[in-house]
Symmetry: C2
Subunit: 183 residues, 2 copies
């Protein structure tokens, strides 16, 4: 069903930053009228679920300027130009948490805000993880914390865990646990 296709009549790039690009597009609607679409271009991001042999979920705590508060999230980062998601995942995991993994299993992806942005988050689950030293960029400030799944659910209820990818990850692990109990 692409009968609702909106043809681009004109594109104006308002901003090209380090992270986002902002385009304003004039489009033709299916009824022949025109409308304006405000679009944010983003290179995409990866996020990694690390659940250790000690039943701990590895999370990072960092200040989010857009929200003016600190959130606790699964390790993640944006893709560099031309970088494969798996490589971003490996890189961000060791940089932010110090953990390395035998393998990163792809478990799915989602668009964060299809109404205005093209950002896609690719999710991986780390297998066979080994703890190491954080290796942050000079201007990156990230605390690593490790919690049980039950503690993660409490953090979600308290809205300290409060972003799409981490809520999804907590649900994912919870479902795995329930599946295990059902089989």
């Amino acid at each position: 069903m692409d009968s609702f296709y909106e043809k681009t009549l004109q594109t104006k790039t308002l901003y090209e930053g380090k992270v986002i690009q902002v385009d304003i597009e004039e489009v033709a609607l299916p009824n022949g009228k025109t409308s304006t679409r405000e679009l944010v271009r983003h290179p995409g991001a990866v996020a990694v679920i690390v659940y250790t042999d000690e039943d701990k979920l590895v999370l990072v705590e960092q200040y989010r300027k857009a929200l003016e508060k600190t959130l606790i999230e699964i390790p993640a980062g944006k893709m560099e130009k031309g970088e494969a998601p798996l490589h971003t995942a490996e890189r961000e995991l060791v940089e932010e948490t110090g953990y390395t993994a035998d393998a990163l299993e792809y478990i799915g992806s989602f668009y964060t805000s299809p109404g205005f942005a093209d950002e896609c988050v690719y999710l991986y689950e780390a297998q066979g993880v080994v703890k190491g030293e954080q290796n942050l960029d000079e201007d990156e400030f990230v605390n690593v914390i490790e919690v049980t799944l039950e503690e993660a659910e409490v953090l979600m209820a308290k809205e300290k865990i409060h972003d799409a990818k981490t809520c999804y990850a907590v649900q994912y692990l919870k479902m795995k646990q329930m599946q295990h109990r059902l089989t």
Copy 2:
């Protein structure tokens, strides 16, 4: 832990649109250096999980210009200025799907992209729904479709369902189903 607080030194609003506002902020980092944050301001959105007595999930199919493709999503919409999330939820539900509900139960919220945007999605689950007529804006093009939870999982695997709020909703219903089997 707000020791990683980033003080705003300067804000420049690049764009004020109908949906988003784009701010570029110069911030002081915890190490005394300065950096730039590219921030998208969004009024927030609500989304409604409608699961009927006939075990069907009510979804809407629409063209997403940011992605240049059609996605299948749970009904949702952005909040008008000063509008309470519950009111947005009631309004969008009937406009997009024609369904009305006896009650909308709040089940949680999440930030979609905390790295660059302040958009928060508030999720509701509809109770006691009754089918009615869609009441779209003149320039809104939305197909209503109803699928079983199993069909929704297939749509997710095929990436026709591919946005954060709908993936979360499918997981939420799946978990409820598993919980029911466990008790």
